[in-house]
């Protein structure tokens, strides 16, 4: 859907990307993660066309139609709408701007948002739901989600996630999520992209990642390829190994454990902080 090829982008005093490439595929739910400040938000903005890369190209798939940007929606907790507007005014502004004829949102009804409230008066979660409702009116094909879940209460969160799931099922929407809390979305995503030093450090399907990343406990420290991270715990060493294949340990006595996404990513990022 979106093919980013050798992107370079810097802010005035900081280089974010130098030679970055990534493909977003149709109907796939991708998690983008990395250390704070690595450029995850910037990446989403580049995908959405809010920022323009200084070098390299971003190619949109033909399936997105003649106006690709109209079919790509970004929802972010940093993005504000025109807060002085009422909901009705904002709807009118957005629909006329995006050329949408009719606007009917069961989502808004479910969230209990009526037309006369001013946006400023809404809670953060409500604003996000409202923005999502606006974005949905354009029937986007790619939905970019930047750290929004934590701002929502339980009810809104449920509403939000249900909407995402419906979008996946009904229209095979591609999701690109930046989320630091993996528990919430571990069962939704299919692909994990870890960004480190402005490059893609890990780009794997979730199942493959989990299949290959194991925690190997051993009395001795095992050197060798694939050890992402090793710590000493009491009388044994814990190694996070990727990829782990049976026999990797040689003839040493080990126990192997599976990991959840949090642990896997943590291990990868552990190298960064160390």
């Amino acid at each position: 859907m979106i093919a980013m090829d050798r992107i370079a982008f810097s802010y005035p005093r900081r280089e974010i990307f130098n030679d970055f490439s990534l493909d977003i595929r149709a109907g796939e739910a991708t998690l983008i993660t990395g250390v704070n400040g690595e450029g995850k938000t910037t990446l989403l903005r580049l995908m959405a066309g809010i920022l323009l890369p200084q070098r390299g190209t971003i190619v949109y798939d033909r399936a997105l139609g003649p106006e690709p940007r109209a079919k790509i929606a970004l929802i972010s907790d940093q993005m504000n709408l025109y807060e002085d507007m009422s909901l009705a005014e904002a709807i009118r502004f957005h629909t006329t701007t995006c050329g949408i004829q009719a606007f009917d949102s069961p989502l808004l009804r479910k969230a209990g948002l009526t037309g006369t409230q001013k946006i400023r008066r809404l809670s953060k979660g409500q604003k996000l739901i409202f923005h999502l409702a606006l974005l949905l009116a354009s029937q986007p094909q790619v939905l970019l989600i930047d750290e929004v879940i934590h701002s929502m209460d339980v009810v809104l969160r449920e509403l939000f996630l249900d909407t995402l799931l419906d979008m996946i099922q009904d229209r095979r929407v591609s999701l690109v999520m930046v989320n630091l809390n993996y528990h919430e979305i571990e069962t939704i995503i299919e692909r994990v992209v870890l960004i480190q030093n402005g490059r893609v450090a890990v780009d794997e399907g979730l199942d493959a990642l989990k299949d290959g990343a194991k925690r190997v406990d051993c009395r001795e420290k095992i050197p060798g390829d694939g050890v992402i991270h090793a710590t000493r715990l009491g009388d044994h060493y814990e190694h996070i190994v990727y990829p782990y294949r049976p026999g990797w340990e040689g003839d040493r006595q080990i126990t192997v454990h599976s990991l959840n996404l949090h642990e896997i990513v943590r291990a990868f990022m552990g190298g960064f902080y160390a």
Binding site: Y11, P12, R13, R45, A48, G49, I50, L51, L52, Q54, E67, R69, A70, L74, S76, Q78, M79, N80, L81, Y82, E83, D84, F93, T96, T97, C98, S138
Partner: protein, 700 residues
Amino acid sequence: MLRKEISDTLKLSVGTVFVFFIVVAYAFLLVRLVVDAEFPFSEFLPLMVFITMLGFSFYLGISLFAEEKNQRAFEYLLSLRFTRTRLLWNKLLPRFVALSAAAVLYHILSLFLRPFPVPGGWIVFLAVYMSLFLAAVSMSLVHRSHITTMVYALALFMITYAIFALFTMQFQELDLWGHAEVKFVAVCLFLVAATAFIGFCLHFRRMDLGNMTRLFLRSVGSAARYLGLPLLVLLIAWIVLNRFDARDPAPGWTMTPSGSPQADQDNGFWHLWTLSERPDLDVESDQQVILKYRRLLDPRFDLDRYVEHYEYWTNKATYRDYAKKRNTILKGHADLLSPWDIRPYRSTAITTAREAILRLRRESAVYLDRYDRMLGCDRFEDLTAPRFKSPLPNLLAWMHIAKLYNWLAILAAADGRWEEAEAKLLAHSECLRKAVTHSRLLLVHLVAKGILADTLNTLAVVMNLEGCPERFFRAILGRIPEANIAALGSETAFKADYLAFADYIEKRHFSLSDHWLGRLLGALFLQENRTKGYLHRPYADAIALEKIPPHRWKTNAADWGKRYGRSRQGLLWWIQNPVGKSVADTAAITNLRSVVHKSYNLIAIVDLLRISAEFRLRDDGTTPVETLLEDLTAYRRKDPYSGRSYGWNGERGVLYSHGPDLDDDRGLRSYLPDRDGDLILPVRLQRDPGRGGANPAPEE
């Protein structure tokens, strides 16, 4: 999105109008209370509207992204499906429309509410109006905070205004407007603002959401590169172009300041200069006086410094007492009061004022004495230096005394002392003829001509007195030679005047030099020879014109103003020698055509006088006038204003020339022969009313 922008712009416009009304009301009250209770609203209103227009334009530009800044909706705006260019266009279009509409309304308002001056004129206003908007737009993203942005922008505009004012050198003068330099600078300002604006638009496409000041600095950088560099190149080219001066337009026109260093009492002009010195001083022996004039004459003396100290005005001050006395004595004799009046005399005006004239003679004894000595001189060499701020002799005194001299001659003739009158007047006219020939600066030359005309008219009056003897007429024919341009022309005076201007240019005497910026611009953009050329042209043309009698002139008098008017003509006048042209335009050159007329007028009067004298000699009382005229040698002279013989109107008894209007008005007396009428000389004919031709008393 366009709809929102339109409604935002409308809100802003309406808000401005609202604020305007309130501010105007309060400000006007304030002005009335504090400054001037009588201050007229009709003066206050145009200024307020003008300021509001500029403020509106500025605010319209700077508030381009106000909504986005205040509500932090920038990212949302950028996330919409428009390209950045389209986004900017949506923002700018309603504002451009509002700007234009406001300007149109302003124009309509200025038409309906007269008077409604637009300071600087429409070009300057529109240039500044648009510049403010464009520059404000390019600064609209300098800072996240709206207030800070406006502060930055205002500071920048203050600096720009200061530079603008300095450049146009009208820092002290409030009359800043209306000059071509201001228009030029306003247009340059517009170009710079436009380029900053274009730079802004180009960089808006690649702007990030981080540091917004960068965007402005980048656009300034663009402006510097895309406009500044070419402009710099153009500026250098402009300066280089102005380095190539023309050749000296009049290399042959030189005049040394004066003759010998010694005080030259054989020089008639020396006596003219000393004429109005204090009556108690003996001008021929007093060393102070002699030294004063010696310094003027000595070419080695630093006249530039001396001019500052020359006791020019002290001279006038002492003379003023005499002038007051003169006015008191001549009160009631309106014909005689004005020294400038050189119309032909009425003899009766003089004779009835006898008492006053004789009293005046007593008061003027010293001056008359000095004047006699002037008339006695053979040599006339003008001491007046052809340079800027040249000291002049007291010309007023000259006119006073000369006229008095002539009146006394009339009185002498009226008393029957014909020889005395003859001697006086002919000596006077000979002296004046030399003064005309040898005088330098135009002013001195014109005064000399005027007094000569006065003297010739006096001769005519005396000729018409009862009992004028034949020898008088003979003397006239003998001692007043035929007039020609070589003797009576203004060529020397024209050259001297030109040289005074040339000195003005060379020594940078003009007011521009009071300011350091003026001096710099003078150094860069004033080409001496070229500027002198502008001033040279009318004089050279006048000299050439003078050699042709007026009846053969092709062009109209009215053209003179157009031909030798402003040097700053055409749209591109400023490219070459702009400072020179501006200075030349401030140097007022009198209408030289009328100076040339004066020369020919004099020639005509001399001719008419001689014709009249010869006529009176040969008149036998019976031959018809026209026939007699044909016989006269003097009559063979052609009227320079018609190309034919002079005219004779028997009914009026006048010999006449067509005069500068070139029309035959049949001897109608005119006080403004330039416009209408003829130059006339009344001739008394001693004829029997019954025989041959009408013979009334000559019209006086």
